[in-house]
């Protein structure tokens, strides 16, 4: 028999430790007792989850593996010590190793009481639902006046005490066998049939059917037609397979899609219950574990790319186009990174195409304002471009003086807007703006990226020109199909069709170097395999660190504070891995203190694409009192700060016509969200206000005023730059929003060839970076739609230069 003993205090001197050591020796022929100490256990804190830390995991694993547990508790203040309470709280929070575990309580104290009251408390504590231990009743072993109880060898002096302890221990041996026999799950038997249940997905409930035979789960079908493509697909494939393969509900959630994973597990549990079996038995049944063997995979390739998002897949595709080999390693089970979460439209000035569209009210005003900017405020390296742009704008304004005119754009307008948009000063007074040569490359080659993507297989919707949130100008090229996933779908297909290899669930641990040149990497593959990659070049395309709150807080110099519980619009994969890898070989960092918040995020999930996301000219933002509070056409920072000033939570108001301009949703999704209470809908503004607990008169007045500004083409309150639709056709909608972390501006310092630079400004041989992992382009703030332009442009550049430098491959035109 294998037992674990817990010393119930962190004190240096403890008679409870002596008591356990005596038990260990005295009963060594009957049981092997391992004694665990609380010394290194941190105080429980639900906001700082340490369940995965080595110390808590050691308790978890040892208790799980043991047949029973003996807890020896002192009595402090009539109860158990806080240190003991703390480990029990950790073991009842995310982990539950004591569930059903046989436990014996003993205790020693200085007083005659011998921990009697602490033992009673401990009994009640171990009975709590989150702990659910099986505590042996009776046989209360209390060792009073413990300071006089042991001899010099640490043995109990009183033979009567020893005899009682022996009787308690003998009873515990039997009790352990009994309880463990009780814990063996019953044979499962189902009422055969196909059961219709629901799984909870990202966007609401999904119909699911589970087919059961007499003793097996045979089939699981999930209707995912209303689900956002890309994010949770892996969970919908892998979880049903794991359940059927193992005939168990004890399957691990897919990282990055834990909600969907649990949604599927709970749905199957519902079916199991309906079929007359107990889902708890299936949750206890362990899947057949594959034995962990340290397999080593050794791969040699031309170029290895870290990260299978838009930047990484673009680089991989470009390598393949030049006839070279490429390997992409991705730490998550699914490809797509943050790109699958992007809104879709990418910025590229394409005047010929944009000229087909009419200008909308407000745009001329924006252009005029640009021409009025004081040249003294423009950085010298941008000045020549700025002057040419002014000439272009003045010519356009003159040409269209008496008419509405067409939509103006030029590469220079894109460049200057990127520069102006990125100009920021942090809390310490440091000013930052986009590095001219990088911004020039981005804006000069963005349109080329659109054409390149078309060539790869991305179809763009040429019938409309959109402006993503925070983009400042309408130059968004929107792909047909599912938002950002449309890019990934085409790129992934291209890469795999052309023989590129993608390894998912393979986080990179370190880069390898030979004589200062980066020449490969070491990664951890699935099932404990080790992957060693040798390559001529490594391209880091692993994204930023918006999902790493601690790192954000560590570098932040821009926001007055970043909350510990702030949500993110990003994939949970965005934890700054590439920045860690780059700096480990001497890379310099740039602009790390700046980060971007997405003002219009789901308050509960941080996601962008719940509710109604419409072009900003159709945004009507109201605060919790039902009043407008900001120019909805403002920059993301302006919107974020205004939201924070108004208590963070605010609403986007829309009517039935505005709904039609949304680029993120379907009627089915909207209906599901209204039913779920995450979106509000009403036939009148008054009713909508009531649902939002606003004064109906205030909201109605706000909308009346807004509609009158649309008619007048001018907003005297907040000076909204451009309008489109009024809010007038029922039903009316309100989408709740809050700011969330969205983009980390800083990153590895690169040059125009996407080479990673060290602190001396020199190229680190063999290392390239593209996308959010690199810094310097967007500087203090990134325009909406520019990140897609960035990844597709610098992804191509990184690949082209890697091939040119390391493999002397020149581009094929």
């Amino acid at each position: 028999m294998k037992l674990v003993g817990i010393v119930g205090t962190n004190a240096k001197k403890s008679y409870n430790r002596e008591l356990l050591e005596f038990i260990q020796r005295h009963f060594s022929d009957q049981a092997e007792l391992e004694i665990l100490e609380l010394t290194d256990v941190p105080l429980f804190n639900e906001n700082d989850d340490q369940s995965q830390s080595p110390v808590i995991q050691a308790f978890n694993e040892k208790i799980t593996a043991a047949d029973g547990v003996i807890i020896a508790t002192p009595e402090h203040n009539h109860s158990v010590p806080s240190a003991l309470k703390s480990i029990i709280e950790w073991l009842s929070f995310k982990l539950h190793p004591l569930d059903g575990k046989p436990v014996m309580i003993v205790g020693a104290s200085y007083s005659v009481q011998g921990s009697s009251r602490a033992q009673l408390h401990l009994r009640q504590i171990l009975d709590a639902p989150g702990v659910n231990a099986s505590v042996m009743p009776g046989s209360e072993f209390l060792l009073g006046r413990a300071q006089t109880a042991f001899d010099d060898q640490g043995n109990l002096k009183e033979s009567g005490t020893v005899a009682f302890l022996e009787s308690c221990f003998a009873k515990f041996m039997k009790f352990t066998d009994l309880v463990n026999a009780m814990n063996v799950p019953d044979a499962v038997s189902y009422q055969p049939g196909t059961y219709a249940v629901t799984a909870v997905g990202h966007n609401g409930k999904l119909p699911m059917s589970v087919t059961l035979s007499k003793d097996r789960i045979e089939d699981i079908q999930i209707d995912t037609s209303t689900e956002t493509k890309g994010i949770a697909e892996v969970a919908f494939k892998r979880i049903p397979k794991a359940i059927i393969d193992g005939q168990t509900l004890a399957v691990d959630a897919v990282s990055g899609a834990s909600m969907t994973s649990h949604g599927v597990i709970d749905g199957v549990a519902e079916a199991v219950k309906a079929a007359g079996a107990n889902p708890d038995d299936l949750k206890k049944r362990q899947a057949q574990m594959t034995k962990a063997v340290q397999n080593i995979t050794d791969i040699t390739t031309d170029v290895v790319v870290v990260g299978a998002g838009g930047a990484g897949l673009t680089a991989a595709a470009k390598v393949l186009q030049q006839g070279r080999n490429v390997l992409v390693v991705e730490k998550f089970p699914a490809v797509g990174g943050n790109t699958v979460r992007a809104g879709g439209p990418m910025n590229a000035a394409d005047p010929e195409w944009q000229h087909q569209f009419e200008a909308i009210p407000g745009e001329k005003h924006t252009l005029t304002e640009i021409t009025q900017i004081d040249e003294a405020t423009i950085a010298p390296e941008y000045l020549a471009d700025f002057r040419v742009l002014k000439t272009q704008i003045n010519a356009y304004l003159k040409e269209n003086k008496d008419q509405r005119g067409y939509l103006f754009d030029s590469t220079l307008l894109h460049r200057i807007q990127t520069y102006l948009g990125g100009k920021r000063t942090d809390l310490q007074g440091h000013q930052i703006y986009g590095q001219y040569d990088l911004v020039k490359v981005l804006t000069d080659h963005a349109l080329e990226s659109v054409k390149w993507l078309e060539n790869i297989g991305v179809d763009f919707d040429k019938s409309q020109v959109t402006m993503p949130v925070g983009a400042i100008w309408r130059r968004g090229h929107k792909p047909m199909g599912d938002q950002g996933f449309a890019f990934i779908k085409a790129l992934q297909k291209f890469v795999t069709d052309q023989g590129g290899r993608i390894l998912t669930e393979t986080p990179v641990q370190s880069l390898t170097t030979t004589a200062g040149k980066v020449d490969g990497l070491i990664a951890q593959g699935p099932d404990h395999t080790k992957v060693i990659v040798h390559a001529k070049a490594v391209i880091l395309a692993s994204g930023g660190f918006a999902a790493n709150t601690k790192m954000l807080q560590q570098y932040n110099t821009y926001w007055t504070a970043i909350d510990d519980d702030i949500k993110t619009t990003n994939s949970p994969a965005m934890t700054g891995d590439g920045i860690r890898l780059g700096t480990s070989v001497g890379a310099d960092l740039v602009g790390m203190g700046f980060s971007q918040m997405m003002p219009v995020s789901d308050p509960d999930t941080g996601e962008l694409f719940s509710g109604l996301q419409v072009p900003p000219q159709n945004f009507v933002m109201v605060n919790q009192a039902g009043k407008r509070f900001v120019n909805e056409y403002g920059s993301r920072d302006e919107l974020t700060q205004a939201a924070i000033d108004n208590g963070s939570l605010f609403y986007l108001i829309a009517d039935d016509e505005i709904k039609k301009t949304a680029y993120n949703t379907t009627q089915a999704k909207l209906d599901a969200q209204v039913a779920a209470g995450t979106l509000y809908r009403a036939d009148t503004l008054s009713d909508l206000a009531k649902q939002l607990q606003m004064d109906p008169a205030v909201l109605t007045k706000t909308i009346e005023n807004y509609n009158s500004y649309v008619d007048a083409g001018e907003d005297p309150e907040f000076h909204k730059n451009a309008f489109d639709l009024k809010v007038q056709v029922a039903p009316f909608y309100a989408t709740p929003r809050k700011p969330a972390t969205h983009h980390t501006m800083g990153g590895l310092k690169i040059d125009t060839g996407a080479h990673v630079l060290n602190a001396d400004g020199q190229v680190i041989d063999g290392l390239y970076a593209a996308g959010e992992v690199a810094g310097g382009i967007h500087a203090g703030n990134r325009l909406g739609g520019n990140s897609l332009a960035d990844i597709f442009t610098f992804g191509r550049i990184a690949a082209t230069n890697a091939l040119q430098d390391e493999l002397t491959v020149t581009p094929l035109g």
Binding site: L43, N45, N77, H78, S82, A83, K85, Y110, R145
Partner: protein
Amino acid sequence: MKLVGIVGTNAKMSTNRQLLQYMQQHFADQVTIEIAEITDLPAFNEPEDRVAPAAVQALSDQIKAADGVIFATPEYDHSIPAALKSAIEWLSYTTRPLINKPVMIVGASNGALGTSRAQAHLRQILEAPELKALVMPNVEYLLGHSLQAFDDQGNLTDHDKVAELADDVTAFLAFVTLTEKITPENKFMEKNQQFSWSQIADGRD
């Protein structure tokens, strides 16, 4: 009259904190309630020199300066949170400011029972000889389903629970006045301010 309300958890989001904030505002014309947090206290570990860390000393000074103490406790695993127990162990092992201090216990929980078992434990703990607090008898303020109990302005929405709390606070204020009369000044305070569990055996306390 001045009271200290101790938030009995280190969690960021706590309806016990909300409950104390509500009491602070709602009873402002009757009594001043300062809210004390235990978040920054270290985990208790018997210090050889018996000296309270600065954060513990600060909490202790705050308690000493007050006429009474309100503990607002959540319930973790049928008892008080380890973080609150740790704070109490610090106080009992170092400065002992709760001796003869009138104490009222309240608690809020998301479940239906409203911390009944944690409050019973806390009562026993505070009555331990190392602490010797004067816990007010007869009153047990339990706030169940606490996540739904407050409106956006932080006010309790259930009128019965508001009335019950008002009665309990009034009773506690009377209890504080009463205890001032019956406890001879500093009767226990003159004795050794520091305590060790080994002293129980010596009959020194």
